[in-house]
Symmetry: C3
Subunit: 346 residues, 3 copies
């Protein structure tokens, strides 16, 4: 057992004036009052920040005990205590939410004495490297980078400034991650693409020679996998946000500002546009192109390229089982049904 | 290389009287006979326990060579050898199955010399901590806890007595796990929820300030992910059983005794009732409520709250491709079909 | 921090005669010319190998700057530079692709000084064992095996000659892997099957006593999970290829030469035939049997056994949301529609 001291911060009091500054709102009330946590509007106490974003909370807003409420100017009369007027309370909350990250897994600056870092690695001075981390030869790790415990960074990876690689991440050889990214635990980047050529009844492996290139300000959720390209690279644009357990196959390209919810799967060589929004478990077949600004609803299944922005859906909601069985039976008889109509119509 | 001695147990002979005691059955036969393994009724030999639970095995039960058979009283005449009479043979088998866990990854008591445990950690005396394990500051680890090789327990986690965290697990900061849980390899608990506020065409991250709270006797399968809450916590009830590769988003609540098969996905803030059964790859959209005792069949897609117990389904089984193409074509022409009927009917 | 030297190879020049030998093709051109990389036909330069496999590249093939092109004899007139004539250019490329793996995570021979290997382990002399690797008692590791950084091999596992276990893999106790397999990062093999017997309103765990047995030449993609059997084993045949994030439940059997794309899920005790091809996110319910040579299209949902080879499908492609809403509404009224037709028809 390797003993060690490590100190994480306690809750930090934040003054209302600091909050107003951060989100650019107009403070009405005690600028020196401090809050230390965030709560929903019904649970908030004197030491809490809250926000009024949903119309359903308007009726109870007057009862809140919050130390301060972020709200729209037109709702200010609802709240008698401290308040900060903003155009978009939810966005304002997003802007100040990081002030309240009071206990984190953030590591102390420096390199843990159990980390294994190849001599050839170029490592930013302010990097924080956790226990058991392995960084292989030829890697370039930027300033302010954090690499959490147990993560593996294979040969010739590049990690941009201020990126956080959390615990238990695997970056395979040659992966390039931009600046200010957050890579969640269990993520695998740069694993072998799934490429085989048929050889009679067997499958001959095609060695995957490309890499993964990820832009700046990208977030990647837990246990998501992104394969390296077959020849060219797999490319994830700037500001892309990927939730948990997403599968991105080899040579996929994802445009800037696209966001994908949990369990999305994108097959090989698909090209996803900019500013797309993919709902949970949406899937896109290989070699398709999805235009910019396409919204795929949850579980949407895309088997042809989509050339026009818009909202697309294909998923059938549940029914009680007896009703559903009838629906399926009728669905399977659709051809007969159509034929009988044709006949009847005559 | 760190050399080490470690010994795991060999198969342990179990006497038929011990088995009968454990499952509360009536033994007919040699109480001193011992068995060392479990087998299906067709493969069983003199050293095997087996059970007769499925009607399809009744015809061959008489031929079994098993050292002992768990069966219902009404089937006792089928078997001439040793038998134990029980009301529910499958449940009785479940009750005795742990007697036959002869080779496991269970660690020896103590802390491996490569583990990194912060000085502030409160650690139960009988804990077993594997190689390369990291436990950050402020954690409280109960009595009899096992933490497998390579697992990371970030700051301020609590793990209840007798819980087994297997190899390669990541518990992010502030996660709370109850007693007697089993967390399988590759699980990530407490990773950042997926929360962004739109800011023009971009996405502004909402820092996720809640935690994950897991009850007692919960099992979590390999590579499952459970995100921490945005403000409040993500909560998993007592005795919940989660299979592999399940995705539980931020602020989800799962009621006691609910069970979910592999690849289920629950979107943010959904509330799942007690004693629900979710089939493989079922999915529930965000902010919905599912009543107690709801059964979702495999691949069921829930897009509205379900207020009543019952069985729900939405998945269409495969057809041969030519037939399926026609079905889809007719489905896409349903509107015209309906219109033509209306016309015909006039 | 443990400092270390490690050297990975630089690009290795490959002569055209070596390439022709490897793929059995006829070289026309400079046999001594060397290339060092692979490129698509449009991006290729003098130092690149490329291939002409897709008809859509025929029109531009004449413009390629490639150092050598793999192509069919009937296309040889299209290319004036060096060329190698082969029957199947894509297969030929697959055969030579491994010559161009110039930067890899391959470890140097030997055992990293931070690895923990139990004294009882039988380890092939030429094995390469990465940093922080744990190998528990009773394991047998073949010749030429690589085990990447941070991987855990629990007790009594067997790993066949020349198999590569990449970084961050977890092999639970008793797993048996054949020869020449590749196990990608984040894979979990041998985790507990999901087995519970109902006990009133609760679930009683059935301890999972089987193991996982994997054949030779099997590839397993990142974050895929394969559970151990309940009593008998989970069995993966020879030359099976599994992509990322696949879930294989307990007691599944997968036949030789079957290939599965990303996110496939196979429920417990299903038996998948030989030479099957499962598209992305296909799923098969428990206890079903799928014949040899079955092709399941992407997202296919199989709820009954398939006894005949062929192509099966069940997934409905997306429509624009307004159109889709109408389709679902009509689908939900199918029963009424059928009834009204019956009436009309009279």
């Amino acid at each position: 057992m390797v003993s060690e001291k490590q100190s994480h911060g306690a809750p930090i009091p934040v003054s209302l004036s600091d909050i107003a500054d951060r989100c650019g709102g107009e403070l009405i009330g005690e600028s020196a009052h401090v809050v230390t946590r965030v709560a929903s509007i019904g649970n908030a106490t004197k030491d809490s920040l809250t926000f009024l974003a949903s119309p359903k909370h308007i009726v109870t807003a007057g009862d809140t005990l919050a130390g301060v409420v972020l709200l729209k100017p037109e709702h200010q009369a609802l709240v008698s205590g401290n308040k900060i007027l903003v155009d978009d309370p939810y966005l304002a909350y997003a802007m100040v939410s990081n002030l309240f990250v009071h206990t984190s897994a953030d590591l102390p600056q420096g390199i843990h004495n159990t980390a294994c870092i190849n001599q050839s690695v170029v490592l930013g001075k302010s990097a924080r490297i956790g226990a058991g981390v392995v960084i292989e030869n030829g890697c370039v790790i930027g300033e302010g980078v954090m690499i959490g415990h147990g993560s593996v960074v294979e040969a010739h990876c590049h990690i941009g400034d201020l990126t956080h690689v959390e615990s238990s991440v695997t970056l395979c050889a040659n992966s390039r991650i931009g600046m200010r990214c957050v890579i969640s635990p269990g993520v695998v980047i740069g694993s072998s693409g799934f490429g085989y050529a048929p050889e009679g009844k067997k499958w001959r492996k095609i060695h995957q020679l490309g890499a993964v290139v990820i832009g700046d300000d990208v977030d990647i959720g837990a246990n998501t996998t992104i394969d390296r390209g077959a020849i060219d690279n797999t490319v994830i644009g700037d500001r892309v946000k990927l939730d948990n357990q997403i599968q991105i196959a080899h040579n996929v390209q994802v445009g800037d500002d696209t966001i994908m919810a949990g369990c999305v799967a994108i097959a090989g060589s698909a090209v996803i546009g900019k500013r797309c929004q993919l709902g949970g478990r949406a899937s896109v077949l290989g070699h398709l192109t999805i235009a910019d600004d396409v919204v795929l609803n949850a579980n949407a299944f895309v088997s042809q390229s989509i050339k026009q922005a818009g909202i697309y859906s294909s998923m059938i909601p549940v029914q009680p089982i007896r009703q559903w069985r009838k629906t399926v039976a009728h669905l399977n008889r659709l051809e007969k049904l159509a034929a009988s109509i044709k006949k009847t119509g005559k």
